[in-house]
């Protein structure tokens, strides 16, 4: 009789899974409807988020004065990016410390908007300081400067960090977006 009871435990153990499977199946209907409404909500919130982003830009950064600086990383084999500081006409307007995830996102083709602001028409100077770990695990720091003319339309610059295969060194450049 004892052995029989122990066998019952074993049977209960083996049957436990099937009851869970049935319980799970019975929840599928409810799950579906909630999931659907959540999906619809996500869609609507994304749309609202989009409209609000556009509204924010229209309101805070009108096209005539809008100025943005982006940062991109091509491969990043010779530089492990740590930090970036951006100066606009001698004022520090942005600085950023990078997490590993952000660096990976940049290496995979992502582009970070480092700064967004308003700028008057005329001549301006932008300087970027890039810090990280360079070749041979040595601390690396480099700056790049660009003088540019801000017209009456939006202006965008890109800080482009890329590997230079000629001397196995990273290269920092600032380029204007047309």
């Amino acid at each position: 009789m004892m052995t029989h009871r122990f066998s019952l435990i074993l049977s209960a153990l083996l049957l436990l899974g099937s009851s869970t499977v049935f319980a799970q199946d019975s929840n599928d209907g409810d799950e579906g409807s909630v999931a659907l409404s959540v999906e619809e909500l996500k869609k609507q919130v994304i749309r609202l988020n989009r409209d609000l982003f556009i509204l924010e830009e229209d309101l805070l950064f009108p096209a005539s004065t809008q100025f943005a600086v982006f940062l991109s990383l091509d491969t990043g084999e010779f530089l492990k990016l740590d930090a970036v500081k951006l100066k606009l006409d001698d004022d520090t307007v942005a600085s950023h410390l990078y997490t590993e995830r952000q660096v990976k996102a940049l290496q995979r083709g992502g582009m970070q908007r480092l700064y967004m602001g308003n700028l008057k028409t005329g001549s301006h100077q932008v300087t970027v300081f890039v810090e990280g770990i360079g070749p041979d695990n040595r601390a690396y720091k480099q700056a790049a400067t660009l003088e540019f003319e801000k017209g009456t339309g939006t202006a965008a610059l890109e800080i482009r960090i890329r590997d230079r295969s000629s001397d196995y060194q990273p290269e920092v450049a600032i380029v204007e977006w047309e």
């Binding site: 009871r5 899974g17 799970q24 749309r47 988020n49 609000l52 982003f53 943005a68 996102a105 992502g110």
Partner: protein, 680 residues
């Protein structure tokens, strides 16, 4: 065995979702190789969010770019990325629409079309629409997919294999499955999953020997590949243990407990399946009459926190094993302790059921913060763990939150797909709610900003009006009009004097003065000559003025025209200024956009509250059912423990009485009394 299948299916789902996300990312990475940098800043920003796993922000960015004219220079790739993002963000229906729209477009590259068919098949597969999934997957060009993305190709082979396993088995389908398996690399987890599923299918079909052969072969073939990423190695190790556990249980089912023990013995004690392995080992040892080994295994389990509900049978099983060893007094004590344990557990579960609320449920779960994923399993996460909705919450590629139970009664429930999905929805809804809250604050600050702009504008208008008033603008207009009339009249009368230059006017004044002087002088020889000189001068002057009339008139008209132009510009500018001062169009347009968005936000907020309530209720229902189920189990263990307790107590009492009777009648002690005495 069904339990194994459930665990397996869950793991499959997790695995499969992780691969989908990886595949999307890989596609993006490959496209980036072709185009070293994003040629569209909006798309670049979306990729930046996407590769960080911020699907909501990435989708928003893509939406913004699409709204502002679309993404330039990346072909169909953004559409695939957007579809993949939707899939990863749990928007399967939207993803389906996206891939279908891509396929309906005529000018899509073959590669993109091929991948879209694959993803569409994947969407249908996730939605359990087998026919649609099969149809979509059959349209994928395997060679092209292998060339463009080998990882996706392997996943495609796996899905096709799953489809074949779902079909009724024939020699052809078996051969097809063998061919698919041959295409998959030996070290691929997909190959393992397919082979495991094939053994499951054999078992379902009643062919237990085939199932066991497959599992044995699978265990033999699973050797660690150091070249694989560490997470894949860990997964393969877990899969091998799963196969061993399944095989051990099949041996148990056949009554071959010795083999079962050998197979289960290979599962490491610190492995994720060691609890189940130990328990099954104890059952097998007990059936082999090796009670010492069974008790050893159960003691090892008893020392562990009785974390999962199914482990609650251990106290009873332990007492039973001791009883099997003939130590009835120890067994009686063990049954008593087991019964006490079950009574306490039942009380606790009853209290939990009565006081269940969202906050209590959340308190019973320890969420993992991003960056803390490598924390030891027994580490206290409650102090540092994020709350639902926090952006730093660690989630998998499909938004499922990484969570450990602080309360063992939730452990099994937590492993269930329904609970995981409800928890994911809850987390997402809180995140959306948080996002709406932030926008509400932002809109309020926009309103303040607009009010400030209005105030500044009004001040400027006031200043402008005062400046215009001080300029006496109306007088200028009158004078311009009078000047025009004089010129027109003089032109009509050919009044040369009117158009004289300043020099001519000065000379005329001089000549007039001379004429007046001569008029007052007596007539004599001297004045006669003076008068003749004056008349010559006057005649020359008149001739000169007449001669210069055309030139002078043209100069005056030119000046009038320039004045007209200047006045026209001034008048139109003033009109614009007046219009600008009279209306607040731009600010009004912003204000109306803000008002519209606020209304939309309120509407969404209400819907969100409703969805949150539904999800909360769904979670509560799941937990309530789970607690009820556990109470039922605990009650059965309690009843069994008490019955055994009563039975043993009766036996011991009867034996003791019999012994006393025998002692009184002068007979020697029997074996039982001696054995019972040894328990002490």
């Amino acid at each position: 065995m069904a339990e194994l299948f459930l665990i397996h299916q869950m793991r499959l789902l997790f695995r499969q979702t992780a691969i989908v996300a990886m595949a999307c990312a890989m596609s993006a990475a490959q496209a980036d190789e072709a185009t070293p940098r994003a040629s569209d800043t909006g798309y670049g920003m979306a990729l930046y969010e996407y590769h960080q796993g911020n699907f909501f922000q990435a989708l928003t960015r893509l939406n913004v770019v699409n709204r502002e004219g679309g993404i330039a220079g990346h072909g169909d790739h953004p559409l695939l990325v957007e579809g993949g993002l939707m899939l990863a963000y749990g928007m399967t229906r939207e993803a389906q629409r996206q891939f279908q729209a891509l396929l309906d477009t005529s000018d899509v590259s073959d590669e993109a079309r091929n991948q879209a068919w694959f993803y569409l098949g994947k969407v249908f597969w996730l939605e359990k629409d087998r026919d649609a999934s099969t149809d979509a997957l059959s349209r994928v060009d395997g060679e092209l997919l292998e060339e463009s993305d080998p990882e996706l190709y392997h996943e495609w082979l796996y899905l096709k294999g799953q489809w074949l396993l779902g079909q009724s088995q024939s020699p052809e389908s078996r051969q097809q499955l063998d061919d698919l398996l041959d295409e998959l690399p030996v070290s691929s987890p997909w190959r393992f999953y397919l082979r495991y599923n094939r053994s499951v299918q054999s078992l379902t079909a009643g062919d237990q020997p085939a199932a066991m052969d497959e599992l044995e072969a699978l265990i033999a073939d699973t050797s660690p590949d150091q070249d694989q990423p560490s997470d894949v190695q860990a997964e393969m190790l877990a899969l091998e243990q799963q196969a061993r556990l399944s095989l051990g249980r099949l041996h148990m089912g056949k009554g071959d407990f010795e083999r079962a023990m050998r197979v289960l013995d290979e599962i490491p004690l610190d492995g994720m399946l060691s609890d189940q392995a130990l328990f099954n080992y104890a059952v097998s040892a007990s059936r082999q009459e090796q009670h010492g080994l069974a008790l050893q295994a159960l003691d090892a389990l008893q020392k562990r926190p009785l974390f999962t509900p199914w482990l609650q049978q251990v106290p009873y099983a332990r007492a039973f094993t001791i009883e099997q060893m003939g130590r009835n007094k120890q067994a009686l004590a063990a049954y008593r302790r087991a019964a006490e344990h079950y009574v306490q557990l039942d009380q606790r579960l009853t209290e939990e059921q009565a006081s269940l609320s969202e906050s209590r449920l959340i308190n019973a779960l320890a969420f993992v913060r991003e960056g803390a994923e490598n924390t030891a399993p027994d580490a206290d996460l409650s102090a540092t763990g994020p709350a639902l909705g926090e952006s730093t919450m660690l989630t998998d590629a499909y938004g499922r939150v990484k969570v450990r139970p602080d309360d063992f009664s939730l452990a099994e429930l937590l492993a269930g797909e329904a609970f995981q999905l409800a928890l994911r929805d809850m987390h997402e809804l809180y995140r959306l709610d948080d996002s709406l809250d932030q926008w509400r604050q932002q809109l309020a600050s926009f309103e303040v900003m607009l009010d400030t702009r209005r105030t500044r504008r009004e001040a400027r208008i006031r200043e402008t009006r005062e400046a215009l008033a001080s300029m006496k603008v109306d007088e200028w207009t009158d004078r311009q009009e009078a000047f025009r009339k004089d010129i027109e009249q003089a032109s009509a009368n050919e009044n040369a004097a009117f158009f004289m230059t300043a020099e001519q006017k000065a000379l005329k004044n001089q000549l007039d003065r001379v004429e007046n002087t001569l008029a007052g002088l007596p007539v004599n020889e001297k004045t006669r000559q003076q008068r003749q000189t004056y008349e010559r001068m006057r005649a020359y002057f008149d001739w000169w003025v007449a001669d210069e009339y055309g030139v002078n008139r043209w100069a005056a008209v030119k000046q009038l025209r320039e004045l007209d132009e200047a006045m026209d510009t001034f008048v139109s500018q003033r009109k614009l200024m007046e219009e600008e001062m009279a209306s607040d169009d731009r600010l009004d347009e912003f204000a109306s956009r803000i008002a519209r968005k606020k209304a939309e936000l309120d509407r969404l907020d209400r819907q969100l509250d409703l969805a949150l309530e539904q999800t909360r209720q769904s979670l509560m229902n799941l937990v309530q059912s789970e607690l009820a189920r556990q109470r039922q189990q605990v009650t059965s263990y309690l009843r069994a423990s008490r019955h055994a307790q009563a039975r043993l107590a009766d036996g011991l009492f009867l034996n003791a009485r019999e012994a006393a009777v025998q002692q009184n009648s002068g007979r020697p002690d029997d074996d039982t009394t001696v054995k019972e005495g040894s328990d002490d």
